[in-house]
C-alpha cells in the first residue's frame, strides 16, 4: 500500500496548482488502485407521480455519506456495497428512502414527493452523518437552489437567498465609493463579517474589499457570493445559530453552507434577460413642491445571464461536475436632480485666473456676445440658466448619480470526487471568476467647486466613477477515508480574491491639465489557506448512540494593499508658483494674484505680497489626489500575514430516542493577538413524533479581520454646510497601530466575544404542514465600529503635527451590542391530484438590535467634553444604523401552484420600517433623523415546460413598482432613497429559457 499513500501525498502537495485536466488525468491513473471486493449494485430511480427519471439524486450507504453516488440523467446509478449495508435515497423535495441491500443487486426505486422539508438531511452544524432538519438541535434552512433558481426573478445567489430566507439579507448599494462593488451578506441583522460561508463544508475566503458602508453601520468584509455561479449549486443550508465552536471565527450569527452539484450525464442551463421599468417614481414631484427630484427614462438596468452545468462520470468511480456563467448587467440610474449652484460668478463672469494671474476664460459664450455687441445675450449669459441654455444643458446633467453598478462577470466552478477504493474518496472543488464593475461612486463635481475644477478637462464639471476588476480563485482538495471505524477527512482549501481598483472621468486637480483622467488606484488582495484534519467515530452502543468528532485546523491569511499610479495619490504643482525674480506677487495686470476662490492674496494692508526669486508660493489650493477617491500610495501599502491554529472536540449523544444533546469545545490561537477558547451546547427533545423542542447556548468569537487591522486610506467626506450643500472634507482612516492612533490613545483591536442563546420548536401538525419557531439572543462584547471624525482642533495636544489639517478616524472595539429575535417558518404543501399541487410558505423574522454598553473612554483629547467624546467614539448615525437601520421585521409569504407543465409563484416580501439617525442638526439642535415607512413588494413568475427539455419562465420582481420613502431634504445628498429596504430600482421584469439534455 505504499504506492497509493505516496500518490495521495503528492496530490495534497499539488493543492494550489492542480488544474482541472491534470486532476482528471490523475484520477484516471488512480483507477488501477481500486479495490473492488463488494458486490455491484445497479438501479433506477423515478418519481412516483409521473414516472420521470430523477437525475442528480443522492444514493449512499447509511452511516457513510462518503460512500455514495448520484443518479445520471436517466435516473440510473451503480454502486458497490455489502449485503448488510442500507442504501439511502435522498433528493430535495422527495421523501428520503432507506432500503437494505440484502440479496438484491438491482433496485427500482420510486420516490414520493415530500411535503415535508423538515425531512431533509442536513450536513451543517453536525460533524456526523446527516440528520434531518427536524432532528437538528439548531435551526437550519435547506434551500434547493437547483430546484428553485429557474422560477426566481433574481439571478445571483445572494439575492435569491435574501428573498427566500427572511433572516438572510444582501443589501445592494446604490453606490458611494466602493460600496456597490460587493453585495455584503448578513444573517439575523448582524454584520457581514459575523457570518461564516462554507462551500461543501469548507471555509470560503472573503473578498479583499473592506466595505465601508454596510447596513449595520460598521465597515466590514464579506464573502462575494457573486463569484459562485448559482448553476453550480445543489442546495444551500443556512444554519441560524452561533457555531464558532464548530467552525471557528466569524460563525457568530450563523453559517451558510453551499453544497455543490454532483450530478453527471446531464447538461442543464438557462438564458435570462431582464430589465427595470425605470418609471422615475411617479408622484415624487409632489414631495418637492412641484420640482422634480429625479427623472424617469427608458427602461434600464438590462441584464443578460447565460449559465450551464454538466457532469462527467469518471469510470463509474467518480464524477466531475462543472458549471459556467456569463453575466452582463447594465447599470440602473436613479439621479438626484438638485439646485446646488453649478456655476458661480467667478465662472460666469470670467473672473478666474491661473497661478500666474493669466485669465481663465470659462464663459467663452459671454466673450462672443460681448464681441458682437449683443448686450441682451451677454446679460443672459452671466446667469446660470443663461449659460445652461446656451450650452444645451439641463439640471439633470449636473445630477448626482446613484443606482446599481454595471457588471460584467464570468465565473466557473467545479466539483469532483473519485473513489480510490471502497473506503477512500479523493475530492476536489473550486472555481475561478472575473468581475468587472463600474459603480456610481462620487458626487458630481460642479464647476463652482473651484479647488477641483479644470476648464480644459471638464468645462461643465465631472462625475468620477470607480471601477474594479476582481479575480477570484479557490480550490479545495481532500481525502475522505476510514481507518478502522474512524472517519478521516484531510483537506486543504485555498482562496484568493484580488481587486484592482480604478477610476474614470476623474483627475488630480493639483496637477491641472496634465493629470490623467482615468487612474489606477491600487490593488487589494486577500488570500486564505486552510488545512483541516477531521476525525469522527460513532459509538452506537453508548446509550442510543454517541458520535465523537475532533480535529484541527491551520489557517494562513494574507492581506495586501498595493499602491496605485503616482498621480492618484500625489500633490501636484498646478497651483504652486515658483517666483522667477524678486518683487511683488502680481499678475499681468499688476494686481495681486488670486487664490482658488478668486480672492486677492494680499498682506494685512491689502497690498500685494513681496516675494523672492526661487520662492514657491501656493497661489491656488487645488485638491490633491485623484477625485473623489485618493489612490493608495506608498504609506498605505500593506503586506500583512496571520496564522491561526485551531482544535476542536465535538460530541453528539442520543440519550434516548427522543433526546439528543450535543457539545463542542474549540481552542484557537492567533499569531497577531492571542488565544480564545469557546464552547457550545445544544439539545433537541421530541415531545411527540411530530413535535420537538430544541435549544442551544454557545460562546463564540470573531477575530478582527486583517482588513480592519490594517486598512488605511484618505477619503473625501461631504458634510453639509449651513445652506445644506455638501462640502468636501478629507478624512483618513488610520490603523490602530499608527502614530495617529497612539497619540490619541486608541487601543489595538481585540476579538469580539459573543454569547448566543437559542430556543425553538418544530412541529408538523399535519402531513405537508410544518412549522418552526426559534427565538435567539446574541450578545457581542467589544463589537468593532469605526469612530467619527477627530480633527486637530478638537484633540489639541499639537495633534496637527500628526494628522495635519484633515480629520482622522479609527477602528475601535466601540460597544457591547445585543441582537434578539424570533424567527418563524411555516410551509404547507397540498397535493390536489397526481399532477397538481399548492405550496404555501410564510417565513418571518422579528428582530431587535441594541447597543447595551458604550465604551468608557480615556483618550488624550483636550477640547471635547466627555459626552462629545463618547459621541465621537460611536456617533449617533453609526449607532442608529446598527439599532434601527435595518428592518426589525421582515416577512416573506409565497404561494406556488403547479399543474402538469405549468406553475406559477406569487410572493410578497414585507420590510418593516427603519429609522436612520443623523449627526447633523438644525440650529435648535433637532437632528435630521428620519423614519422610513414599511414596505411591501410582490414578485410573480409563470413557468411552463415547453418540452421535456425546455422550460420557459417569465415574471417580475417588485411588479407594482414600489419605491421606498424619499430622504428628507436635509439628507438628500448622494442618495435620494435608503438602501435598506427594497432599494431604489423599482420594478424588474425578466424572461428565461431553461434547457436540459
Amino acid at each position: 500500500m505504499k504506492a497509493p499513500t505516496s500518490t495521495i501525498s503528492m496530490f495534497i502537495k499539488m493543492k494550489k496548482s492542480l488544474s482541472y485536466f491534470s486532476f482528471m488525468l490523475a484520477l484516471t491513473l488512480l483507477t488501477s488502485l481500486v479495490n473492488a471486493q463488494q458486490k455491484s449494485l445497479t438501479g433506477k430511480v423515478t418519481a412516483v407521480n409521473d414516472g420521470e427519471p430523477l437525475a442528480g439524486l443522492n444514493v449512499f450507504i447509511k452511516g457513510n455519506t462518503a460512500k455514495g453516488t448520484v443518479t445520471n440523467a436517466q435516473g440510473e446509478f451503480s454502486l458497490e456495497a455489502a449485503s448488510q449495508d442500507v442504501l439511502v435515497f435522498s433528493f430535495i423535495g422527495m421523501k428520503t428512502q432507506e432500503l437494505k441491500v440484502g440479496a438484491v443487486s438491482s433496485f427500482n426505486v420510486k420516490m414520493e414527493e415530500a411535503f415535508n422539508e423538515l425531512g431533509e438531511l442536513v450536513v451543517t452544524g453536525t460533524r456526523n452523518v446527516g440528520r434531518t432538519v427536524l432532528e437538528s438541535t439548531v435551526p437550519v434552512d435547506v434551500i434547493s437552489i437547483q430546484d428553485v433558481m429557474g422560477d426566481l426573478p433574481q439571478i445571483d445567489l445572494a439575492q435569491m437567498l435574501a428573498y427566500l430566507a427572511p433572516s438572510f439579507n444582501a443589501v445592494r448599494s446604490q453606490g458611494g465609493d466602493l460600496d456597490s462593488h460587493v453585495d455584503p451578506v448578513q444573517l439575523r441583522n448582524m454584520a457581514p463579517n459575523q457570518i461564516l460561508v462554507l462551500i461543501n463544508g469548507k471555509r470560503r475566503h472573503t473578498s479583499a474589499l473592506l466595505i465601508t458602508g454596510t447596513a449595520v453601520g460598521s465597515p466590514s468584509t464579506s464573502v462575494d457570493l457573486m463569484t459562485i455561479p448559482a448553476s453550480s449549486i445543489e442546495k444551500v443550508e443556512i444554519l441560524r445559530d452561533g457555531a464558532a465552536a464548530q467552525y471557528g471565527s466569524d460563525a457568530v450569527a450563523g453559517v451558510v453552507n453551499i453544497i455543490l452539484k454532483k450530478g453527471t450525464g446531464k447538461l442543464t442551463g438557462s438564458l435570462t434577460g431582464g430589465g427595470y421599468l425605470n418609471s422615475g417614481n411617479p408622484g415624487i414631484d409632489d414631495l418637492n413642491h412641484g420640482v422634480p427630484l429625479t427623472t424617469d427614462g427608458d427602461p434600464d438596468g438590462f441584464n443578460y445571464q447565460f449559465d450551464a452545468n454538466y457532469g462527467f462520470n469518471i469510470a463509474d468511480k467518480g464524477f466531475f461536475n462543472i458549471s459556467g456563467q456569463v453575466t452582463q448587467r447594465r447599470n440602473t440610474l436613479r439621479p438626484f436632480v438638485n439646485d446646488w449652484g453649478f456655476y458661480d460668478d467667478t465662472y460666469l463672469l470670467n473672473l478666474r485666473t491661473d497661478k500666474s494671474g493669466n485669465p481663465v476664460i470659462t464663459n467663452p459664450e459671454l466673450v462672443a456676445a460681448q464681441g458682437a455687441g449683443d448686450e441682451a445675450l451677454a446679460s443672459s449669459l452671466t446667469t446660470m440658466e443663461g449659460i445652461m441654455d446656451a450650452r444645451g444643458l439641463e439640471r439633470e446633467d449636473f445630477a448626482v448619480y446613484a443606482g446599481l453598478p454595471a457588471i460584467t462577470l464570468g465565473s466557473t466552478f467545479y466539483n469532483a470526487g473519485f473513489d480510490i477504493n471502497e473506503k477512500t474518496t479523493l475530492y476536489s472543488f473550486g472555481g475561478a471568476s472575473y468581475k468587472f464593475l463600474e459603480g456610481f461612486s462620487c458626487y458630481f463635481r460642479r464647476p463652482s467647486q473651484t479647488d477641483r475644477f479644470n476648464y480644459l478637462l471638464y468645462p461643465n464639471g465631472f462625475r468620477p466613477q470607480m471601477t474594479s476588476n476582481t479575480s477570484d480563485f479557490s480550490n479545495t482538495i481532500g481525502l475522505r477515508s476510514k481507518i478502522g471505524d474512524v472517519n478521516v477527512d484531510i483537506s486543504n482549501t485555498f482562496g484568493r480574491n484580488r481587486m484592482r481598483l480604478g477610476m474614470v472621468n476623474t483627475f488630480n486637480a493639483s496637477m491641472g491639465s496634465n493629470s490623467p483622467v482615468n487612474m489606477y488606484l491600487g490593488t487589494h488582495q486577500f488570500t486564505q489557506n486552510s488545512t483541516n484534519l477531521d476525525f469522527s467515530k460513532s459509538f452506537p452502543d453508548v446509550l442510543h448512540g454517541l458520535s465523537l468528532a475532533f480535529g484541527a485546523e491551520m489557517r494562513i491569511e494574507n492581506y495586501k494593499i498595493l499602491k496605485g499610479q503616482e498621480e492618484s495619490y500625489t500633490y501636484g504643482n498646478a497651483g504652486v508658483l515658483t517666483v522667477m525674480e524678486d518683487g511683488l506677487l502680481v499678475g499681468p495686470d499688476g494686481m495681486p494674484l488670486q487664490d482658488a476662490s478668486s480672492e486677492p492674496i494680499v498682506d494685512e494692508d491689502g497690498a500685494p505680497l513681496n516675494v523672492n526669486s526661487g520662492q514657491e508660493v501656493t497661489v491656488k489650493s487645488l485638491s490633491a489626489n485623484c477625485q473623489c477617491f485618493a489612490g493608495f500610495g506608498p504609506k498605505n501599502e500593506r503586506d500583512e500575514y496571520r496564522t491561526t491554529m485551531g482544535a476542536y472536540i465535538d460530541a453528539e449523544l442520543d440519550i434516548t430516542e427522543k433526546f439528543l444533546i450535543t457539545g463542542a469545545v474549540r481552542f484557537e490561537n492567533y499569531s497577531d493577538f492571542g488565544a480564545v477558547s469557546i464552547g457550545k451546547m445544544s439539545m433537541r427533545y421530541s415531545v411527540m413524533e411530530k413535535l420537538s423542542v430544541r435549544g442551544s447556548i454557545a460562546t463564540g468569537f470573531r477575530a478582527p479581520s486583517l482588513q480592519e487591522l490594517n486598512y488605511t486610506h484618505t477619503a473625501t467626506a461631504f458634510v453639509p454646510d449651513v445652506n445644506g450643500i455638501p462640502q468636501p472634507l478629507d478624512v483618513t482612516t488610520y490603523p490602530t497601530n499608527s502614530t495617529a492612533a497612539r497619540v490619541l490613545g486608541i487601543k489595538g483591536l481585540k476579538q469580539e466575544q459573543s454569547q448566543t442563546y437559542g430556543f425553538g420548536v418544530t412541529y408538523q401538525p399535519l402531513p405537508g404542514f410544518e412549522v418552526t419557531a426559534d427565538a435567539y439572543q446574541i450578545d457581542v462584547d467589544d463589537r468593532i465600529f469605526r469612530t467619527g471624525y477627530f480633527n486637530a482642533g478638537e484633540v489639541g495636544n499639537n495633534y496637527d503635527e500628526v494628522i495635519g489639517g484633515g480629520e482622522a478616524q479609527f477602528f475601535v472595539n466601540g460597544a457591547d451590542v445585543r441582537s434578539r429575535g424570533i424567527e418563524l417558518v411555516g410551509n404547507y404543501s397540498l397535493s390536489l391530484n397526481a399532477t397538481s399541487g399548492l405550496t404555501f410558505t410564510l417565513a418571518g423574522i422579528l428582530a431587535k438590535n441594541e447597543v447595551i454598553n458604550r465604551k468608557v473612554l480615556d483618550l488624550n483629547v483636550e477640547n471635547l467634553d466627555e459626552e462629545q467624546l463618547v459621541g465621537k467614539y460611536l456617533d449617533r448615525a453609526t449607532l442608529g444604523q446598527f439599532e434601527t437601520g435595518t428592518p426589525r421585521e421582515k416577512f416573506i409569504a409565497s404561494v406556488t401552484f403547479r399543474k402538469s407543465k405549468f406553475s406559477t409563484m406569487l410572493r410578497s416580501t414585507y420590510f418593516g420600517e427603519i429609522t436612520e439617525r443623523s449627526t447633523s442638526s438644525d440650529a435648535d439642535g433637532n437632528f435630521y433623523d428620519q423614519t422610513f415607512s414599511s414596505q411591501m413588494i410582490f414578485d410573480l413568475s409563470f413557468n411552463y415546460d415547453l418540452t421535456n427539455n425546455l422550460k420557459l419562465s417569465i415574471g417580475g420582481s417588485n411588479i407594482f413598482d414600489k419605491y421606498p420613502d424619499v430622504l428628507r431634504t436635509e439628507n438628500q445628498g448622494f442618495y435620494l432613497y435608503s438602501n435598506n429596504q427594497q432599494g431604489s430600482n423599482g420594478s424588474y421584469y425578466y424572461g428565461r429559457i431553461m434547457f436540459n439534455f
Binding site: Q328, R391, Y458, V504
Partner: protein, 169 residues
C-alpha cells in the same frame, strides 16, 4: 437522430442568442459634457503696459493695461489700477499717438473703470473684435489714458511707443 438534430439546432439558437445579447451590450459610459463655445481656457499671450500717475503727489492713480490675444480675431483688454476713488467712475480710452505727442484723438473707446475695483465696470475684460489689433500692437502708435471727468489721472504709452512691462508670447 431527430433528437440529435433538434439538439444541435437548439444549441445553435441558444448560443447565437447568448452571443448576440452578451456581445452587443457594451456597458454604458457617462462621459462628461463638453458643450461649450470654442475659445475658453487659459489665455497666455499678452502684452502689459504701465499706466503712470499724472499726479503722483496727489491721487497717485497708477496701474497697468493688458492686451490679451484671445483668438486670431479677438483681443481682450484688462485694466488694473491702484488708488482709484471708491464709488467713482473713470473713463478709459486708447488715443492715437504717444503721451509725449499729446494724444488727443480717441482711437478706441474702452469701457469705464470702476473706482472701487480699479477694473472695467461692465466686465473684467473689454472685448475688441478686431482681426489685426493684437498682431499689429507692437507697431501701434498709441497711448492709453484714464480720466476722472476730463482730468487725466493715469496714462501710458502702448504699442510702438513703449516696451511692455510684462509680455508673454
Amino acid at each position: 437522430m431527430k433528437s440529435y438534430v433538434s439538439m444541435r439546432i437548439f444549441f445553435f439558437v441558444i448560443g447565437a442568442a447568448a452571443l448576440n445579447l452578451l456581445g452587443a451590450c457594451e456597458q454604458e459610459h457617462f462621459e462628461p459634457k463638453m458643450n461649450t463655445l470654442p475659445g475658453g481656457g487659459t489665455v497666455t499671450t499678452y502684452k502689459a503696459y504701465t499706466l503712470s500717475p499724472t499726479n503722483p503727489a496727489g491721487d497717485n492713480v497708477y496701474g497697468r493695461v493688458v492686451f490679451y490675444k484671445y483668438s486670431s480675431t479677438v483681443t481682450l483688454v484688462q485694466m488694473g489700477l491702484y488708488n482709484t476713488e471708491p464709488d467713482a467712475t473713470y473713463s478709459a480710452d486708447i488715443f492715437g499717438g504717444s503721451i509725449l505727442e499729446g494724444a488727443t484723438t480717441v482711437a478706441i473707446d474702452l469701457d469705464d473703470v470702476s473706482g472701487t475695483t480699479g477694473a472695467f465696470v461692465s466686465s473684467k475684460y473689454f472685448v475688441m473684435n478686431d482681426a489685426t489689433f493684437y498682431e499689429t500692437l507692437g507697431d501701434y502708435d498709441a497711448s492709453v489714458k484714464v480720466m476722472l471727468g476730463t482730468t487725466p489721472v493715469a496714462a501710458g504709452d502702448i504699442g510702438a511707443n513703449a516696451d511692455p512691462v510684462a509680455v508673454q508670447d
